[in-house]
Assembly symmetry: C2
Homo-oligomer: 251 residues x 2
């Protein structure tokens, strides 16, 4: 493959210095490199917007021939710390865990952090399964794969998540009474589903569950997220996504 594999950080910076930079509590600045669609960078962008971070979108160069990254794939989060150290984090889940910690989205203690990460991963997996087995599967099987997703995978997610949300008081949050990575992921996944072919069927099933829909409404009422959704970059990504999803599946 014509890939350019980059290092995670400059070669002449020690891991001890990088560890210090990584845990520096002062605000850093961010460039999030990804394609010009929401895709798997969508949650990272929501966290950056929600957190009021100093960040910008960076478009991936012509992939793969001209792009550069540690794993040949994207998103990649480029970080410049207050002290000027630069490094890159790949892998959406690593990025989202890092940003969630920076912007106080992991609850009040170690237990709440585990719960939040469990809810987040359960929802990541729901979306990943849909993408792998339906959206980007072969055209000849994608409709029956969608039927199976609607009949089996989605109902398990809805039933289990709504039970835990009721246990937390149906207050629009997964854990405690505070916004978390889990809340943002669920709202973000619903936004993703809404762009898909037959996504209306998925959204209708989720909307019929008031506990889950309240999470979406709670997230959607955040002023900084509303401002991000009104931005030109966001609107461009959504329009591109709708164009892509108008004809998915592989021949």
């Amino acid at each position: 493959m014509p890939l350019t594999v980059t290092r995670f950080a400059p070669e002449n910076v020690s891991t001890a210095d990088l560890a210090e930079a990584l845990t520096d509590p002062r605000p850093a600045s961010y460039k999030l490199e990804y394609f010009d669609i929401p895709g798997t960078a969508a949650l990272s962008r929501d966290i950056l917007a929600y957190g009021g971070a100093d960040w910008e979108h960076l478009s991936v160069a012509n992939w793969p021939a001209e792009s550069k990254s540690p794993f040949g794939v994207f998103p990649v989060l480029h970080i410049t710390t207050a002290s000027g150290t630069t490094f890159a984090l790949p892998e959406a889940i690593v990025i989202d865990h890092y940003l969630a910690q920076k912007f106080d989205l992991l609850g009040e203690n170690a237990w709440e952090e585990q719960l939040i990460k469990a809810y987040h991963l359960s929802s990541c997996y729901l979306r990943e399964r849909l993408s792998s087995r339906v959206t980007w599967n072969y055209k000849s099987v994608m409709h029956k794969a969608m039927d199976l997703f609607l009949a089996q995978t989605l109902p398990i997610w809805i039933e289990t998540h709504s039970k835990h949300l009721r246990d937390n008081g149906s207050n629009g949050h997964y854990v405690g009474n505070k916004m978390s990575l889990a809340d943002l992921q669920t709202a973000n996944s619903i936004d993703h589903f809404a762009c898909l072919n037959r996504g209306d069927e998925i959204v209708a099933m989720i909307k019929a569950c008031p506990e889950i829909w309240r999470v979406k409404e709670t997230v959607d009422s955040e002023p900084r997220l509303q401002a991000w959704r009104q931005s030109e970059v966001y609107k461009r990504h959504i329009a591109a996504s709708q164009a892509v999803f108008a004809s998915t599946g592989v021949e």
Copy 2:
């Protein structure tokens, strides 16, 4: 769905007490609940074996009707701490991060931990993509999906991982000179591939890359892992896996 959705911990234990139990440095005991195959619990079992943990395998009851779990899916790690507090962690990645921290598999500092988690997730995704798009796809498309995996997905993983392993001195470890979650995941994924239909093609491509193969050999030389691989439970799981994988794909 006829699911029994369980709580993560007893209702009468506070999140503060659970946070304390979760971070208790004393040894805990573990039951890892999963089906009687390696599957997505395989890495957790390797970590428990490598760490010399007090643990046992717990078979999932008839799924889904008789099984009980927080998300309706498995693996679930049941933990009893030294003080007698019990709780459950679902989601393989959450479990593996928790166990990796317990058994000193996250490097020497915060930066090394990020790198290790990035390598681990990159390899998780490789395996997940193969499972979703090939192994458990429809029979009519699984062979062309495998061709695409061998032509595109796997070469990117091999090229990028081998580059980073060379940067670390081709010493059989991803980070520093110490066993980590990343090393165990790569070796574990190769063991998984070896059980698959056409898995010999995958393993041959990986084996042609000496840096990656050295990681596998380094992991395989660990006495506690060798002992686990000689156990009756392990052998039973491998035999069951080979029987399952002899005829995968969905009609």
